[in-house]
Amino acid sequence: MSRTPVLRAARLGPRDVLHVGSAGLRSRPVRVVLSALGIAIGIATMIAVVGISASSQAQLLRQLDALGTNMLVAKAGEGMFSGQEVKLPKDAVGMVGRIDGVEEAAGTGDLDRTVRRSEKIPEGETGGIAVKAATERLLDVLRGRPAAGTWLNAANGRYPAVVLGHVAAERLGIDRPGRQVWIDDRYFTVVGILDPLPLAPEIERSALVGWDAAQRLLGFDGHPTAVYERSTDATVRQVQNLLAPTIDPRNPQNVAVGDPSSALKAKAATEGAFSTLLLGLGGIALLVGGVGVANTMIISVLERRHEIGLRRSLGATRGQIRIQFVTESLMLSGLGGLAGVALGSAAVAAYAATGGLPWVVPPWSAAGGFAATLAIGTVAGLYPAVRASRLSPTLALAAG
């Protein structure tokens, strides 16, 4: 007979731990699915919230990329003393165009006129639409294009022709070129409707008339109110500093220089900030899922008293019984976590596909969600596991 002077409990290898931990799951697949479902819903909600925000943000950034960040706008500011609107010099567009690095420049001039669907509509109902004179290059500088019809050109720019921004067209109820709108005291023919212009929302809300036509027909004085320019990417900051002194060397403070892409960037940042409320809902679902796992584990321990007793009789230590049930709980919630990540990613994919957005699930959200399930699995499994390990083997083996 072999008499070992000291008895030492053998350690279970990782594979054996997985083996005993998954035994209970394999024998009860339906229960596994149901209790993992709670976790899965929680994780899926969180992944979906984060993923949809990230996708929207990616879409904005992609848009920003397409529009470029090299466009600047110089506008007439308020006069420092008079409070009256200061006008930019007549040749401001030309001066800006000659700045080193500037590739294109265009201008708009505000007209104190209203545009209406017909002369019968009262003058006060402007619908918030501004009437502006526009130079021909404006659309190129904004990288916009007409959704229908044409842009202002040398030919139609002389006649009572008007191009509508897409918001203006919508408000006027005009869906295609060829219709007429009432400006000042005559009808203008709509020759084009523009696509959305994310960099210049003020143009979206405008009715644009050719520079010459505005001067001849609407009493435009030829002073631009805004100059749009695009430079090379490398010279943007330099140009930004030169814009005001170039336009108004004596009173550069009267010229306000703006960077519309920075507003879009800020918008992208807010889109990326997901709704805390929805995330909280996901967290609650996850918590409920964790309670479900704990419940399942307690039932599992009760049902498997015989197995626990058997394992103790085969030489399992209390620690090994604990490890077994914590592993089982971890696997249960881990499965739920994996399913949740998959489900959430699929939800984001579906949302992105319907909205034409890029599909983005930040890796940290998937990793974080999964880590959360593992933490929940440990917590949910600990109490049942301790109970299992404290079961008296004799009671556990008792028949019945």
Binding site: M1, R3, T4, V6, L7, R8, A9, A10, R11, L12, G13, R15, D16, V20, A23, R26, S27, H306, E307, G309, L310, R311, R312, S313, L314, G315, A316, T317, R318, G319, Q320, S392, P393, T394, L397, A399
Partner: protein, 229 residues
């Protein structure tokens, strides 16, 4: 003869004052095959638990395979069970849906042997109990007698110093029960020390030594006086 089990004045009292064991002296030598017999309530199950180190006595001393149980922590006691004691239960306690060979290999799970070795030994143990052709069968595909033989294979796969069989034929028809008892005789002939706990005097009567228990005391031991402990 070396003693595998040495019980001296063992008392087991449950809270509430029930004395399940009341001063039991019992020595089991290596290579013995004995029956522990008694009616239900006699304390024989408690005796099984104490001998199997699943329960600690409230008094007296228990030495199993030379180890004083009272001096061992739960971890060391578990190791003692893993190395030196094999259990066979009336209700088999096989893992459902798992092949016979894997059920038997489970008996070595806590022994520290590598996985492949465990499976090889499990196949050998199944061959010893006459189930070499049933390795891949799952419990529900086996008869009751075959299931109990799988359970016996699981108990002996680690070559324990002591095999404790608790009513091993209790859930079997007489033919299967007969086969199981024959198997225990064969294993004993091959050198295993086996204690069979039963209420069936007929089964016990065919074992070389009988220990009768009543009210927590040994009332008769056919070996008493013959074995010098």
């Amino acid at each position: 003869m070396t003693a595998v089990v040495e019980l001296t004045g063992v008392v087991k009292e449950y809270p509430g004052g029930v004395r399940a064991l009341d001063g039991v002296d019992l020595t089991i030598g290596e290579g013995e095959l004995l029956g522990i017999v008694g009616p239900s309530g006699s304390g024989k199950s408690t005796l099984l638990h104490v001998v199997g180190t699943l329960d600690r006595p409230t008094g007296g001393s228990v030495r199993i395979a030379g180890h004083d149980v009272a001096a061992l922590t739960d971890r060391r006691l578990s190791a003692l069970r893993a190395r030196h004691i094999g259990f066979v239960f009336q209700a088999f306690h096989l893992v459902p849906g798992v092949a016979a060979v894997d059920n038997v290999a489970e008996g070595l799970l806590y022994s520290g042997l590598p996985r492949a070795r465990r499976r090889g030994m499990a196949a050998d143990a199944l061959a010893r109990v006459g189930l070499a052709d049933r390795l891949r069968h799952r419990p529900h595909e086996l008869s009751g007698g075959q299931r109990q033989r799988v359970a016996i294979a699981r108990a002996v796969v680690g070559e324990p110093a002591l095999l404790l069989a608790d009513e091993p034929t209790g859930a079997l028809d007489s033919a299967s029960g007969e086969a199981v008892m024959d198997l225990l005789h064969t294993l004993n002939a091959e050198g295993a020390t086996i204690a069979v706990i039963t209420h069936d005097t007929e089964i016990a009567g065919r074992l070389p030594r009988q220990v009768r228990i009543r009210d927590g005391r040994v009332v008769a031991d056919t070996a008493r006086g013959k074995v010098a402990a």
